[in-house]
Amino acid sequence: MQCQECGKRPATLHFTKIVNGEKTEFHICEACAREKGELIPGTAGGFSIHSLLSGLLDFSPATSSQASGVKPAENLHCEKCGLTYSQFSKLGRFGCSSCYKYFNDRLDPLLRRVHGNTTHVGKVPRRVGGHIHMKRKLDDLRRELQYRVLHEQFEEAAALRDQIRELEKNISAE
C-alpha cells in the first residue's frame, strides 16, 4: 500500500481516526510522518485504499517499455482466468495463480516497492515443492564437493560427484 501523503513510499503507519463519530483511515510512510512532526496528518481528503493500491500498481514501466521490449500493458492478460493487466491495476488483486506467470515481466518493480524484494526464501510445500527441495540439496552437495576437492579428500569427492549426477538425472527426468 502506498503512502497517501507522498504517493512514493509504501505506507507503514495505518491509523483509524474518529471525527464526529465518523471513521477515516490513514496510511502514511514513516518519512512523511516524521516530516509532519506528528503521526497523523490533519485532514483525510477523499482518500480510499483502492485508489492507493491502484496508484501503486499503475506504476508501469511505460517510459522504458519500448526499450526493454516489455509488452505494452493494454495487450497483457492472463490466459488462464482472462484478467487483463489494467483490471489488475484497478483491483489490486490477481485473478488466479497463473496471473503471476503472465504478468511476471511487470511484477519485479511492484514487488520491490511493496516488499523491497522479489524472491521468496521461506517455507516450501513438501509435495508441490519437491523439485525445489532437490535443487536446494543439489546446491548443498556441490558446495561440499568443492570443499572436499579443496582439501584433497578425493575419495569423498568422488562419492559426492556420483550423488550429484544421480540427483541431476532425477531433476531433469521430472
Binding site: M1, P10, A11, T12, L13, H14, F15, T16, K17, I18, V19, G21, C29, E30, A33, R34, E38, L39, I40, L57, K80, C81, L83, L91, G92, R93, F94, G95, C96, S97, Y100, K101, L107, L110, L111, V114, H115, G116, N117, T118, T119, H120, V121, G122, K123, V124, P125, R126, R127, V128, G129, I132
Partner: protein, 354 residues
C-alpha cells in the same frame, strides 16, 4: 443457527490462559494465506468453484492429525444473522472481509477459539492462530503445523520464485502476517509514542492504531505486524517482530516506572477517576469506554486498582456494538447502546470486585 456458542461469551477460552507479558501485550495473532493452484482466486471464482473449494477443505478436517487442535466447528456465513457475524468480527475470530465480500465464505473455529480456519476470504484458505500475551513463535508453529496437514491433501499455488501465490501482492511469498496487540498507555502519556512507533516502521513492521478527535489514541491499543512477506523467511519475520515488541515493552515498562516516580499522585488520580466513571456512569460511548478501560488496565498493573485482567479483556469485547446488541437481543440505536454499555460495565466491574 439459533445459538452459536462463539457469540455467547465475550472472552474466548484461549484468553483465559496466561500469556507472556500479559500486563502489556493483549494477544498475538498469526495468519497464513494459501490458495489452490487449479481454482481462480475467490474474487473471480464462480459460485460452483467456491463451493468446490469449501468441499475440498472440509475433507482435510477429518484427517486424524487435526485432532490435537480440538474440535473444529463449521460455520457457513450465509447461515448466520448479522449480529452473530458482527460479534465474530469483534472477537477477531473472522475477518470483516469474510463477512462483506465472501461467496460461500466459511470458518472452522476450534472449541477454545484459538484456531480459526477461514475459507473463501480474499484467499481460498486463511489459517489463523490466536494466543494470549506475547507468543509469536508458538502461534506461528501451530499455524504452520495446520498448514502442513492441508498441504498433504490439496495442491497449493506455489512458485519457485514468488513463493505462495496470493490474491493480493502484499501477501505473496510466505503469506504470513504476524501481529501483536499491545497496550502502551505510559508511552502515550509521556509523549514518546510517536517516536517509538515511527522507529518501528523502519524495520519492516507496520503499526495500526485508532485515534480519536485530537491526537490522543483511543484505548492506547496498537497492533504491530510484519509488512514484508517476500524475501524474508518465516523465522526472520517472527524473530524480527518478537525482538521489536520486546524492546517496546521495555520502553513501556520504563515509562510506567517514570510515571510512578515523577507523578504518582496525578497518574493515580487519573486512573481512579476513570475507574469511578466506569463504575458509576449512566451513559458512556465506545470511545470514552475504551479510554477509561485503558486507564484502569494501567491502574491494575501499577497496583492502584484490583480488577483481574481477564475482566478488562472481557469488557473490551462486551462494550462493542455487536456484542451489546447480541446480549440485549436485538438492534439498538447508538444512544440506546451508550446507556446499555454503561450498565454492562457497572455490573461487570461489580461482579469482579476482589
Amino acid at each position: 443457527m439459533g445459538n452459536l456458542q462463539f457469540t455467547e461469551q465475550p472472552l474466548s477460552e484461549w484468553m483465559n490462559r496466561d500469556g507472556n507479558e500479559s500486563n502489556i501485550v493483549i494477544s498475538t495473532r498469526v495468519r497464513i494465506a494459501r490458495n489452490l493452484v487449479e481454482c481462480p482466486f475467490p474474487i473471480l471464482a464462480t459460485n460452483q468453484q467456491s463451493e468446490e473449494v469449501l468441499n475440498q477443505f472440509e475433507q482435510v478436517l477429518s484427517d486424524e492429525r487435526m485432532q490435537p487442535f480440538g474440535q473444529l466447528h463449521p460455520i457457513e456465513l450465509d447461515d448466520l444473522d448479522d449480529l452473530d457475524k458482527q460479534v465474530l468480527v469483534e472477537k477477531h475470530l473472522i475477518s470483516p472481509s469474510l463477512v462483506t465480500e465472501s461467496r460461500n465464505g466459511a470458518a472452522f473455529i476450534s472449541d477454545d477459539e484459538s484456531l480459526s480456519i477461514m475459507v473463501n476470504e480474499e484467499d481460498h484458505l486463511r489459517i489463523q492462530c490466536l494466543y494470549p500475551g506475547l507468543q509469536v513463535k508458538e502461534a506461528w508453529e501451530k499455524a504452520s503445523a495446520v498448514d502442513d496437514i492441508f498441504e498433504d491433501h490439496v495442491d497449493y499455488a506455489f512458485d519457485d520464485k514468488r513463493g505462495y501465490l496470493t490474491s493480493c501482492p502484499t501477501n505473496v511469498g510466505t503469506g504470513l502476517r504476524a501481529s501483536v496487540m499491545i497496550h502502551l498507555p505510559a508511552l502515550a502519556l509521556t509523549s514518546q509514542i510517536g517516536r517509538i512507533l515511527s522507529a518501528v516502521t523502519q524495520v519492516g513492521l507496520a503499526v495500526r492504531g485508532i485515534y480519536g478527535e485530537g491526537s490522543e489514541t483511543v484505548g492506547n491499543l496498537f497492533q504491530i505486524s510484519n509488512q514484508i512477506t517476500l524475501g524474508q523467511n518465516e523465522s526472520e519475520i517472527i524473530d524480527n517482530l518478537y525482538g521489536v515488541v520486546v524492546q517496546i515493552i521495555e520502553h513501556e515498562k520504563a515509562a510506567r516506572e517514570k510515571l510512578l516516580s515523577d507523578s504518582r499522585i496525578r497518574i493515580m488520580d487519573r486512573i481512579m477517576r476513570s475507574y469511578g466513571i466506569l463504575s458509576y456512569s449512566e451513559i458512556i460511548d465506545s470511545k470514552e469506554a475504551a479510554q477509561r478501560l485503558s486507564d484502569v488496565r494501567l491502574g491494575v498493573d501499577l497496583g492502584f486498582v484490583n480488577v483481574p485482567f481477564h475482566a478488562l479483556n472481557e469488557l473490551n469485547v462486551m462494550t462493542q456494538p455487536g456484542f451489546l446488541q447480541k446480549r440485549q437481543g436485538g438492534n439498538m440505536s447508538p444512544g440506546e447502546r451508550d446507556i446499555y454499555r454503561a450498565k454492562v460495565i457497572r455490573e461487570h466491574l461489580k461482579d469482579n470486585l476482589q
